[in-house]
């Protein structure tokens, strides 16, 4: 259940979308009239505090009133504090009020269908790529093309924010690469060095095994972490373009290409932490913290599992090349960001907020407040980022192709009801690739029609 800020919000949420649309327009007119005639207090503040915002608004006078903001961070942890800092920074900058409606991360994702078809907040957190396009095509996300282009946000981000009709439906905030993480001091002590080829990585893994370590920390209880391993092997063996068409349902899952991926993965599994299906990724990361595992292929966010004063000790390397004709310059680097509701109550304010989010000012304010991320804005000041984040930002910039992630690049129903059980089945029983891929393909055909 979403948390409603007030009874009025709750009642508003019960209004059918068709009626709410009318209300929205009326509110908008009221707001416009207010701005024109007698300035309300927030309007006054906006006029004082945000001159530049007003002039860059594009669609008329300075926005007024309140913008509602659906956030998927409610854990009371760093991401939520970061969100609160963002809201505070925007309220200060614009003089508008942001009404936050925070829902736990997983719940938010699971309810997204109902949320978007009900009365969604003006601005809400979401993901770039297919997962955004899917809802944009169905008219559930608002067109924010006039927010683009955004100063400092590059073409690759704009591409990932664009729907199938060529309009932008998304504003990126930050991203993070999937890399192989390790503890530097521990590797120095053991004399391990970061491998540059796949064979070197296997030799290193063998060495670690003889040294009594789990070479790779591994967990897939939540169902999505192992998708990253599939993605990277697929991109190393078959290339980025194949990843894209496979995810779009255009390639067969029982093809030789896909079987090669699983066969390669079987070899890697020998060096992975056993019993992965009963472990969540946080526990696997803890084995890396405790020097029980040698390395961990996961999103960069895993370094936050290390105690604060040990985070400088975390290093990473790119998952090495397998086929020299394919190379190793494609990675998963999912983009997080924000969308606007298809029919927002306060469209001007929503767009104004969406313009602020990826700005250099917002990024710098948050970095200085102690919540650094790898910002989408390339002008953002990198000096207050953690060293590993700075390194990762450069690393992402060097890649020629960026994928979002298996469950962000393909149909959500296929990812969750077919791929999660299938990958878990593979981890449990890695020998029957033939049967497994056949079953995936059959199910794919029944979903991609």
């Amino acid at each position: 259940m979403p948390n409603f800020e007030s009874e009025a919000h709750y009642l508003a949420s019960l209004t059918p979308p068709s009626v709410a649309a009318g209300v929205g327009r009326r509110n908008f007119l009221k707001g416009a009239a207010g701005a024109g005639a007698a300035l309300t207090l927030p309007g006054l503040l906006a006029a004082c505090g945000g001159d530049d915002e007003g002039s860059s608004g594009g669609s008329g006078g300075a926005p007024t009133g309140t913008v509602s903001f659906g956030s998927n961070e409610a854990g009371g942890d760093v991401p939520q504090m970061r969100r609160d800092a963002l809201v505070a920074a925007y309220e200060k900058e614009s003089g508008l009020k942001v009404a936050v409606n925070a829902v736990d991360h997983n719940t938010f994702q699971e309810n997204i269908n109902n949320y978007l078809q009900g009365n969604p907040d003006d601005v809400f957190s979401w993901f770039a790529g297919y997962r955004m396009q899917f809802f944009a095509e169905r008219g559930l996300i608002g067109d924010v093309s006039d927010v683009w282009p955004i100063d400092g946000v590059g073409e690759a981000f704009q591409k990932a924010s664009t729907g199938s009709d060529g309009k932008q439906y998304f504003v990126p905030d930050s991203n993070y690469p999937w890399v192989v993480l390790y503890r530097k001091s521990f590797w120095d002590e053991r004399g391990y060095t970061a491998p540059t080829t796949y064979d070197e990585m296997i030799t290193l893994a063998q060495q670690m095994k003889t040294d009594g370590l789990n070479p790779f920390a591994f967990a897939d209880k939540q169902g999505w972490p192992a998708m990253g391993t599939f993605d990277i092997l697929n991109m190393r063996i078959n290339g980025y373009d194949y990843h894209v068409s496979l995810m779009a349902g255009e390639e067969a899952w029982d093809s030789t290409e896909v079987k090669n991926v699983f066969d390669q993965w079987r070899e890697l599994l020998e060096y992975a932490q056993p019993d992965a299906l009963g472990r969540d990724w946080e526990e696997a990361a803890q084995s890396l913290v405790a020097n029980k595992s040698g390395m961990y292929y996961l999103g960069l966010f895993a370094f936050e599992q290390f105690p604060e004063d040990e985070r400088d000790d975390v290093g990473f390397f790119n998952f090495p090349e397998i086929d020299s004709s394919i190379g190793a310059d494609a990675i998963d680097a999912p983009i997080d960001g924000y969308c606007m509701a298809a029919d927002p109550d306060n469209e001007d304010a929503a767009k104004d907020f969406l313009k602020f989010i990826p700005s250099k000012e917002a990024a710098d304010t948050l970095s200085e407040a102690g919540y650094p991320l790898i910002w989408a804005n390339s002008n953002a000041d990198l000096s207050s980022l953690q060293p590993i984040q700075q390194e990762a930002a450069e690393f992402i910039a060097q890649q020629s192709s960026i994928a979002q992630f298996l469950d962000r690049d393909t149909r959500p129903d296929f990812a969750s009801t077919v791929m999660i059980p299938s990958i878990q089945e593979f981890i449990k029983n890695p020998d029957d690739v033939e049967g497994l891929t056949k079953k995936i393909e059959e199910q794919k055909k029944s979903i991609f029609v």
């Binding site: 299906l277 009963g278 084995s287 959500p412 969750s416 009801t417 029944s446």
Partner: protein
């Protein structure tokens, strides 16, 4: 209505005979005076629940069956629904790998609930009925798990079962992955479920045992029946209504088993149940509304068998 309340609880000095005698005419008087109002009240009392049941049970139920013949993402109006006949059913039975294990697990669940918590619950109830010293304490201890939600039970047992930090592996030095290894996790979860179910069965039987007329037992003792014979030949058959209730509860619990596996791993990897398949297909971003509805319809069909059996038993009972 409120004016009638006081006579319902007679003062201790009034004997029952007089109370009954004194109340009857009054009730009749009320009946004649408020005839129309009563009729309206009765109509409302029948109509409102009927409408609610229709709206909340039958309409969604029938719609589920209808939607099970469709392919729909759950977005947009009726025009976005495409009718695909029995394809969903065909896919479930032919190419949907989790379905077969889910059916198996539900059956195992049912059998285990019958064989383990029910006899243990009866046994505990008989012991507690003997009013042993500290009986109250044990009663509370056995009943306590029922107060907890199954989701919470799943979490508590996680502390015991966790592979790397759990109590069992800590004590035995083992490395069994109780919740992750698909050959043991169903049984691990069933232990937790039985732990909870036992208290429930115990409480029901305890209530039943307290209600058994003591003169029956005395008569049996006088006739020279042993304690075991008394229980199985006299007490147990007398508790038939309780037996039916426990039977029904066991069926219901086995079919609606959901929370605990959902908490453990969303009903995947060895913990598939029909209910979790329905949920993971319909809830969430997946929204395979038609496919999920077909699974729900299969579940409905299986439940109907038990509902039919239950109704037959109850109807037979009510017929003299």
């Amino acid at each position: 209505m409120t004016s009638q309340a006081p006579p319902a609880v007679p003062p201790p000095d009034v004997d029952t005979g007089r109370r009954r005698f004194g109340r009857r005419p009054k009730a009749r008087m009320v009946g004649t005076r408020m005839g129309t109002a009563d009729r309206v009240a009765v109509t409302l009392m029948v109509a409102v629940p009927t409408l609610l049941v229709l709206w909340l049970v039958w309409v969604p139920g029938v719609l589920s069956v209808v939607l099970s013949f469709a392919k729909w993402e759950g977005i947009g109006g009726f025009d976005t629904i495409s009718w695909i006949g029995v394809d969903n059913y065909k896919n479930i039975f032919t190419i949907y790998p989790p379905f077969e294990p889910a059916i198996q697990h539900n059956v195992i669940w049912l059998v285990v609930l019958f064989l383990v918590p029910t006899p243990i619950g009866i046994f505990l109830a008989v012991l507690l009925d003997k009013e042993l010293r500290g009986g109250r304490f044990y009663q509370t201890a056995f009943f306590l798990p029922i107060v907890l939600s199954l989701a919470l039970v799943g979490f508590m047992w996680q502390l015991i079962y966790s592979r790397d930090q759990g109590l069992i592996n800590e004590l035995t030095g083992g490395t069994t992955d109780w919740y992750g290894d698909s050959s043991v996790n169903l049984w691990a979860v069933l232990v937790a479920t039985c732990w909870k179910q036992t208290g429930y069965v115990m409480l029901l039987y305890l209530a039943g045992l307290k209600a058994v007329d003591p003169s029956l037992r005395e008569a049996a003792t006088v006739d020279g029946a042993s304690e075991t014979q008394t229980f199985f030949r006299i007490v147990f058959p007398v508790m038939r209504p309780i037996n039916v209730i426990v039977l029904v509860i066991t069926f219901i619990e086995a079919l609606r088993a959901f929370e605990i596996v959902w908490v453990v791993n969303k009903g995947r990897n060895g913990l598939e149940l029909i209910s979790t398949l329905v949920t993971s297909n319909i809830i969430g971003e997946a929204s395979r509304i038609g496919f999920g509805s077909a699974l729900a319809t299969i579940m409905l069909a299986i439940s109907s068998v038990f509902v039919y059996m239950y109704l037959r038993i109850v109807m037979k009972e009510e017929r003299p």
